[in-house]
Subunit: 676 residues, 2 copies
């Protein structure tokens, strides 16, 4: 026995490395995301076999049920027939043993720290709170690996806690309603990435998605019958709570209010205006009338009804993108502004916001709003949700402005995943940016939120827009600043992306559904090949200023089957750039295999029975085929004659055009290769 202990000790001494802050070679070995604060490796392995038992130290709180789910995921991931499908209570020699000190409330600043310790025969998870224990369980699942014959949990000791306390995902359910099942699977996925805030954008021009018993016309006339009942809301809030996730609701006012005004036009700023649920995307004029006392009576009663459904202390009132056109057009409003000495519509909106803040205070809620709410008179108790940055003309972003002005703030600028930008773009953007903050200012940066605006997503496609990029952003919010090695993140993201499927995330599987619908048959390999190199048009070019897509337009197009960070494109570009710099036979071979893939893809594609949707793709694919054949010849040493140049030009002319709202992202590097 003593010998064994000594042996273990020696093992530990030999193999342990110093505690690691941030990222090092370990992150090549362990597929953890977000990367933990401290990790130390040892040579232990705990095998997953039918004898595995799991123990919790209390049935109170969230851990018992979470552990039952944990066992199901362990079983389904490995295929191992575990004898004991439910956790034991205080079983000391359990294979996986979870201990926490107290049941916590889901709220800002809750302790989420945890430790995982893999010893010779046991995996131990310790946490101060049950919520911390949940975070630890997710880490244990990520530690499962395998060889040819066994699954096992790798030997490590981890001490972990988050960098930011606010790590959110906003889902807009107004532009496209999302059923509970979509929200639940995304909450599960959030929890697997240790995110802790679900910001529920419940109302906008395109829909008011909450049942109101006090103002029933809101859901009756403002939602096309697609809304959440009170029970639905309780279900989601409770589901999130069990995962240690706060739910912050948003009712967007005074702008983005077309749906509200469709139900109650008398609250609008423009008399006689024909308010109708908006079908397009963009910024619209319908706005609540800030000088009508009935508006405040309405909001007071509405908030009185809704706030008890959302136990979180924060309440988001939107407040963005009110251009004030209907205010300018209303003589009474202009008169009021003059009388009250309100110089601008912004000042008038602050007048409105302060009234809202007073109402919310009655219901014990702190007001949060998009950064437009930040004006000189706005009390510092408001939370500023920063969405505007360089693109919107703010050199340092509005977050910096907010915290320097004394507000607490949450950052979403540059986490706008609906813009379809690369994972790299979002991952490298630090919530603190390059700003110099004082310690106090830094503390006022609560964290960040990924925003999933839903103009162009439906339940079929939303997951492929949120994931996997949000996993990388979740790491940005949780891990220390120094964790930012792109290559390593990408490598880990590949596995995480696959594991998200076990929670029902449908990014991969629904891509294939869309492709089958396009092909009208099962033979989709040639189309799948294309999704490897085409990406949806970025930064709002797809919807041409909101004029192309209505909320009921089809979202089953080729663009909907494509992702950002198209996988072949990324690898091809890397190889090609490297080849252009320093050519080699192995790189040449790799490049040829890509070109051949597209040539073969085309030959499969033309065998498909044609239909209107494959017909849209045909011309592009034909030119991609031609260009690939040319590139193969050039790689084989053929000279680029004028004739070849002409052929290339003909191809490029077609290929640079959008293909059903996507772009061929490898075209620039191919042009570079061909000196075009």
């Amino acid at each position: 026995m003593i010998k064994k202990i000594i042996n273990n000790l020696i093992t530990i001494l030999l193999f342990s490395v110093t505690i690691v802050n941030g990222q090092n070679k370990l992150s090549d070995r362990y597929n953890l995301m977000p990367w933990p604060k401290e990790i130390q490796e040892n040579t232990n392995k705990v095998y997953i076999n039918e004898e595995v038992t799991v123990s919790v130290n209390s049935k109170e709180g969230r851990v018992y049920d979470a552990t039952t789910k944990f066992i199901r995921r362990l079983t389904n991931r490995t295929g191992v027939f575990i004898n004991e499908g439910f956790p034991f209570l205080n079983k000391n020699n359990a294979t996986i043993k979870i201990t926490f000190n107290k049941v916590a409330e889901v709220q800002l600043n809750v302790d989420e720290s945890y430790e995982v310790k893999v010893t010779e025969n046991q995996v131990e998870v310790f946490a101060k709170t049950d919520i911390g224990a949940l975070r630890g369980l997710e880490t244990v699942l990520q530690l499962i690996t395998y060889n040819e014959n066994s699954f096992y949990i790798e030997g490590v000791t981890i001490k972990d806690s988050p960098r930011f306390v606010w790590r959110g995902l906003m889902i807009d359910v107004a532009r496209h309603y999302q059923p509970l099942s979509v929200l639940k699977r995304n909450l599960d996925a959030m929890a697997s990435m240790k995110m802790n805030v679900f910001h529920w954008h419940l109302s906008d021009d395109q829909g008011f998605r909450v049942e109101s018993k006090v103002f029933p016309k809101l859901h009756q006339l403002g939602s096309d019958k697609q809304y959440y009942t009170h029970d639905n809301i309780k279900e989601i809030v409770s589901y999130a709570n069990k995962l240690g996730i706060r739910v912050v609701p948003e009712i967007d006012v005074p702008g983005h209010a077309t749906a509200i005004l469709t139900a109650y036009p008398e609250l609008g700023s423009k008399k006689g205006y024909d308010y109708k649920i908006e079908r397009f995307s963009g910024v619209f004029h319908p706005t609540l009338n800030p000088i009508n006392p009935e508006v405040y009576v309405f909001l007071d009663k509405l908030f009185a009804e809704l706030t008890p459904l959302f136990p979180d202390h924060y309440f988001h009132i939107g407040g963005d993108e009110n251009e004030g056109k209907h205010w300018d057009e209303n003589y009474e409003i202009q008169k009021f502004k003059k009388k009250e000495g309100l110089n601008s519509n912004h000042d008038l909106q602050t007048f409105f916001n302060i009234k809202l803040q007073d109402i919310l205070k009655k219901y014990n809620k702190r007001l949060m709003g998009w950064d437009e709410i930040m004006t000189k008179d706005m009390p510092k108790t408001a939370i500023i949700h920063s969405w505007r940055g360089v693109n919107e003309g703010f050199k340092n972003g509005t977050l910096s402005e907010a915290v320097k002005n004394g507000y607490q703030a949450v950052l979403s600028n540059d986490y706008y995943i609906d813009r379809m930008q690369s994972v790299e773009h979002h991952y490298l953007f630090d919530p603190l940016g390059n700003e110099k903050f004082t310690k106090e200012e830094e503390k006022r940066v609560l964290g960040g939120e990924v925003t999933m605006w839903s103009e162009l997503v439906t339940p079929l496609t939303i997951d492929s827009r949120i994931w996997p990029r949000t996993a990388a952003i979740a790491e940005r919010f949780w891990s220390v600043k120094e964790v930012k090695n792109l290559e390593n993140m990408r490598k880990r993201l590949v596995k995480v992306t696959l594991q998200l499927e076990e929670l029902g995330i449908s990014h991969y599987k629904n891509r294939d559904v869309i492709l089958r619908n396009i092909a009208k048959c099962n033979a989709i390999s040639s189309l799948k090949v294309l999704t490897g190199i085409y990406e949806p048009l970025k930064i709002y070019t797809r919807n041409k200023g909101g004029t192309e897509y209505k909320s009921f337009s089809p979202f089953t197009l080729f663009a909907d089957a494509c992702f950002s960070d198209a996988i072949d494109a990324y690898n091809f570009k890397k190889t090609m750039n490297s080849f252009i710099k320093t050519p080699s036979e192995s790189k040449k071979k790799k490049l040829k295999s890509y070109f051949n893939k597209w040539v073969e893809g085309y030959s499969d594609f033309i065998k498909l029975p044609p239909n209107p949707n494959t017909s849209l793709i045909k011309n592009h694919y034909e030119k991609l085929n031609e260009l690939s054949l040319i590139c193969i010849e050039v790689l084989n040493g053929k000279k680029i004659t004028n004739k070849v140049k002409n052929e290339v030009n003909m191809c490029v002319k077609v290929l640079k055009l959008p293909l059903v709202d996507t772009e061929l992202v490898i075209l620039p590097v191919i042009k570079k290769f061909l000196n075009e």
Copy 2:
């Protein structure tokens, strides 16, 4: 104008065929399922373009919302940007115009007939009831076809109505709980196949899945927290109602009652027995005590609580597989039987059932039960649900017995899709069998029900077990008896199977999820090749009498990724059998391409990084590869020497063994080819 009418008339005269009862060459052309009663073709084509409008004649009832959904499906299927996303009211020149006479109640014998008429510029749907109109809308969606440039609706006139009034699908949510989203998508799919009864098997040994406010321990102790709240039930019943689908609940008593007795052991037949939610499958002994008056008080209160949630007039009390072991072991029960002159346990169960029938009558429900409830004293008002046939020792099945005895009956025997038999098997089985019934008896056959027992299915796999076979059975229930051409059904089923994806049915997409989980990467093509020729073990051999799988066992195995009617197997067998009979070069070529597919599959497979689950498959794949290479050589003219014979034997020895609970269904025909 007159000329045009005359032209149309000529067109109609030239191209119309006589009204068709059953099936003829038209079923090769139109992809309708279930096949309609009468169909007449014309040369009209109504194009789907952005100008399409849809009109309904009333906002009352189910049609307006169903038509909105119809427009979404039309749009998403075709990718056409339709300008008008919502139905008009009474727009005479609408492209698609729906007219119905009255709003109906969802109940047995409701009129579901409809007509579809495609004229030069318009598609008209007429129905007596709104439910009939829903059936017609599904037909219109199936009439959408395309050429290279356009989608259009084919020119036909259809008059249609169902053969049987009871066309059901039972889903067992006790063995594996199914979330609302699973039920909803299956209800949508049922409606698309014109099915009209959802039989909800809510309680069994493995779980009691309904919240009870009167007996809260039922869901608290009997469900592992996986149950439907009253609101959930209302939601599903309302969802089904909107689709014209009745919901018949089942609370299985007095047997299959372990979950109930886990909550209320005092109601059991065996004192001191340790009732615990069952984790295995099979027939178990826990049984309500029929001589305990408290049992009837309990059931009366429970039914008083539950019956209002289910507006349908029928209530299923199960009643199956009570072997009476605990009754035999209870002295008081034996004494009671003697006293009351009840000769058998069956008689005692009838005594129990009659009491139940009286209770249900109070709540205005007709009792329905599995065929064991049929004993000489059972009143003829009970509905007999026939599940036992030849396999269970009933030569003509219990349905025949029931209707000849004067009962109304519904058939499930031979529609047990959990047995994983072929679509052919179920499709060719007529509810009336080969029995000679009188007109009166025939009328008592209400229809049939597909049964999805869930011992071996989870939310991940249930769709691939239900569909597409249930679509073929739905045709059996709806279409006239003469529609039974297998080849033609298969051809139509291919398209229907694909279209089910637009309703969220996950058969294809979740197969790939499972394969990715097995491969631990995206490169699943080699595994997918195998799913084309392996099928899950059939007729309860997979679970070895209920001893292998517990409810929490993994259902992410290779068997769970395989379907019945493996597509390559079917085509290969056909070609091979035909080749053996009359060889030809083209058949040889086809066969070789199959063998090459498996050889290439193997070469891809061995490139996968090995893990415990791919390791399980390796040996089989290796032998399949060897056998395929031998077969190619034999096709190329090589003699079958003793050495070859030995090699074949070695392969067959491995390949005849189950592979992770599947079987290689092409093995017999290969053996035949090689004279093994």
